[in-house]
């Protein structure tokens, strides 16, 4: 309890987190002692080239994977002690995901897709419907609610996916290369959606990307390389997608 008091501001605490795969000589160290603190309401970009360990870190943050060493606390709660079942339940209530591929279920309408996490969280049907419509509204895709993913553009589908992520009101939104499968213009619309969402709801957002242009839209960049944090600083010339859509900067 004392720890929770002291770190009231801090949503995520990683201390010397390591993750290795395999055994003996074939051991691969994906993470080598990552220490990181993310405050509630921050918008952070986790950046690094492929193989830097950012996907592993994202899997650990999202409770898909367990660290082999170190401590992970979320909102003051020790995540490494949870059972797989508890993890799934915790994930369902507190953490939301936006993936690189547009991971909408193809045979469900936009609305049904958005409602899905809430139905897994056993929320009442009318609350579910209400939150889903609100989230679709927030992302500007309310008019698409009865369409199937195949009837939307990539950008629209990704915004539905973001709506799905935020509808249950999570503490943390984890986005893994959210613009990776989109062209630049749709990508910018999606980044704009993230920024507006951040401003309006104050939800904590972690963007995992290898794209510096995407990273510039966050308020803070944590750079990873070879399983370690090599840089952690606020973004000084932050790009605001809504106001100055820039065709320059970054390579994808």
């Amino acid at each position: 309890m004392a720890i929770k008091q002291a770190e009231a501001q801090s949503l995520i605490e990683l201390r010397e987190v390591s993750r290795s795969y395999g055994e003996g000589e074939a051991t691969v160290h994906a993470l080598r002692g990552v220490t990181l603190s993310i405050k509630s309401g921050e918008m952070v970009a986790l950046m690094g080239p492929s193989g830097s360990g950012k996907s592993t870190l994202m899997n650990i943050l999202g409770l898909f994977d367990r660290p082999t060493g170190g401590a992970y606390t979320f909102g003051g709660q020790d995540m490494t002690r949870l059972s797989a079942r508890q993890q799934a339940s915790f994930r369902g209530r507190r953490i939301a995901f936006v993936f690189q591929g547009i991971h909408l279920l193809p045979r469900l309408t936009a609305l049904a897709n958005v409602e899905l996490p809430m139905s897994y969280a056993r929320m009442a049907a009318n609350t579910r419907r209400e939150s889903a419509l609100k989230a679709l509204e927030l992302l500007g895709v309310a008019h698409l609610k009865d369409r199937y993913p195949s009837q939307m553009s990539g950008g629209q589908a990704q915004r539905v996916a973001i709506a799905r992520a935020i509808a249950p009101g999570p503490d943390l939104l984890l986005a893994d290369e959210p613009t990776g499968a989109l062209d630049r213009k749709s990508g910018e619309l999606v980044l704009q959606a993230f920024q507006e969402l951040h401003e309006e709801t104050g939800v904590t957002i972690v963007l995992v990307t290898h794209d510096a242009f995407v990273g510039q839209h966050a308020a803070r960049i944590v750079a990873l390389e070879d399983g370690q944090v090599i840089g952690d600083q606020p973004v000084t010339d932050r790009l605001m997608a809504a106001r100055q859509p820039s065709p320059t900067g970054g390579q994808s």
Binding site: A84, R85, H103, L105, R107, S119, Y120
Partner: protein
């Protein structure tokens, strides 16, 4: 979107595949339900037949002394013992008309009446005409009452021949058979009675039989013994004491115990047990096709799980628990099996109805067989769906999502 709707959606999306998978179950359930229903029909048929001749009948058949060897081959094929109807004994009979008289004159109240029965191996014809294919039996007059055979015209106690309904009409299509002359073997008899149409005991066909008085039949055929003796107990409840009484009387006359006493309940239970065993045996064999159908379901569910890796990963990332995924896939396999069971049951209902009609047995779907089919389909779907569903549930979401 509930579990059932998801499962149905997935099944409907792969209609052809789902149908072919369900076909295994359709065939399996069809086979099992049809066989059990037809078996039930045969049993009902036998029961009805026995109900028609009364439960108070006792049959005495010849037997080898001191053994329980076969008393004779039953007229209705499946029976292990001699039937209540005519019996072609493989054992030389020692039962005589004297035994019949002794039983009739026993003055035991539980023994209502006794009738000797023999089969006359002669042909029946009109004088100077070619014979017809009717069987001829010699019976004591109480026989008619025991077998529930009613007179249409004439008398049952005459000295002439009593003709079955069809026999009378075949011999004398355009006039009354009564008082006409017929030839049995070489001897002339006057028709003294014509029976009403009747079903008779299992294995007997009274409509196509001509009945001679026992003594006349003995002299016509040159036999001295009767094939069997049928006894009527005063009531179905008195059958056991009637058996005891009859045994005592007969033991006195046949110290070597070369006879066997069978009650119609025994015959009925033998027949019932036999058809039951045969039905269950056949249903068991048919059940193998259900097993094969179940394996088909397991196979296709495994394919479905690997096809839907991504979907499973997404669902898990969205907070689905292992149990949610397990239930989802289990619902799908059970639903698939249930659809198969449903279609199979309907087809079986049709087949049973038509086969029953064609064969002439009152076979229809029973609540039991339908219930069995439904439970079996659910069981097959659940048992064979568990492995694929567990595989789906155990997938790690990250691993599942990486499979693009």
């Amino acid at each position: 979107m509930n579990t059932f709707a998801i499962a149905w959606d997935s099944i409907w999306h792969h209609r052809t595949r789902s149908f072919l998978t369900a076909l295994g179950i359709i065939i399996g359930v069809f086979a099992v339900v049809t066989l059990t229903s037809l078996g039930g029909g045969v049993q009902k048929y036998v029961n009805q037949k026995f109900a028609g001749i009364g439960a108070n009948l006792i049959t005495v058949v010849p037997a080898l002394p001191h053994t329980n060897a076969k008393g004779g081959k039953g007229g209705f094929g499946g029976g292990r013992h001699g039937g209540a109807g005519p019996s072609f004994s493989s054992i030389p009979s020692t039962l005589t008309a004297g035994d019949v008289n002794a039983l009739n004159n026993s003055h035991k109240s539980v023994l209502q009446s006794a009738a000797g029965v023999i089969t006359v191996p002669s042909l029946l014809s009109q004088p100077h005409k070619s014979p017809i294919g009717a069987s001829i039996m010699g019976v004591s007059s109480p026989f008619f009452g025991m077998q529930n055979l009613k007179i249409q015209s004439g008398t049952l106690k005459g000295t002439g021949v009593v003709l079955g309904y069809h026999v009378a009409h075949e011999l004398f299509p355009h006039k009354s058979a009564l008082n006409q002359t017929v030839v049995v073997g070489t001897k002339d008899f006057t028709v003294t009675g014509v029976l009403k149409s009747a079903q008779g005991a299992p294995g007997s066909d009274p409509n196509n039989t001509a009945y001679l008085p026992l003594n006349a039949a003995l002299s016509v055929s040159g036999q001295t013994t009767v094939s069997e003796i049928i006894l009527a107990a005063s009531s179905p409840q008195n059958v056991p004491s009637a058996v005891t009484a009859a045994r005592n009387i007969l033991l006195h006359r046949h110290p070597s115990h070369n006879f066997k006493i069978i009650t119609s309940q025994e015959i009925l239970s033998t027949v019932t047990n036999t058809t039951k065993v045969i039905t269950e045996f056949l249903a068991g064999i048919a059940g193998i096709s259900l097993l094969v159908g179940g394996i088909g379901i397991m196979n296709i569910m495994l394919v479905t799980v690997s096809e839907r890796f991504r979907e499973i990963g997404i669902r898990k990332a969205l907070g689905a628990r292992d149990g949610d995924i397990l239930v989802q896939f289990l619902t799908e396999s059970v639903l698939l099996a249930l659809i198969g069971g449903f279609v199979g049951t309907i087809l079986s209902g049709l087949a049973t109805h038509f086969v029953g009609k064609a064969v002439g047995i009152p076979a229809n779907l029973t609540v039991g067989s339908v219930l069995t089919a439904v439970l079996f389909s659910i069981g097959v779907g659940a048992v064979f769906g568990v492995l694929p569903a567990m595989r789906a549930a155990r997938l790690m979401p990250a691993e599942a999502l990486r499979t693009e």
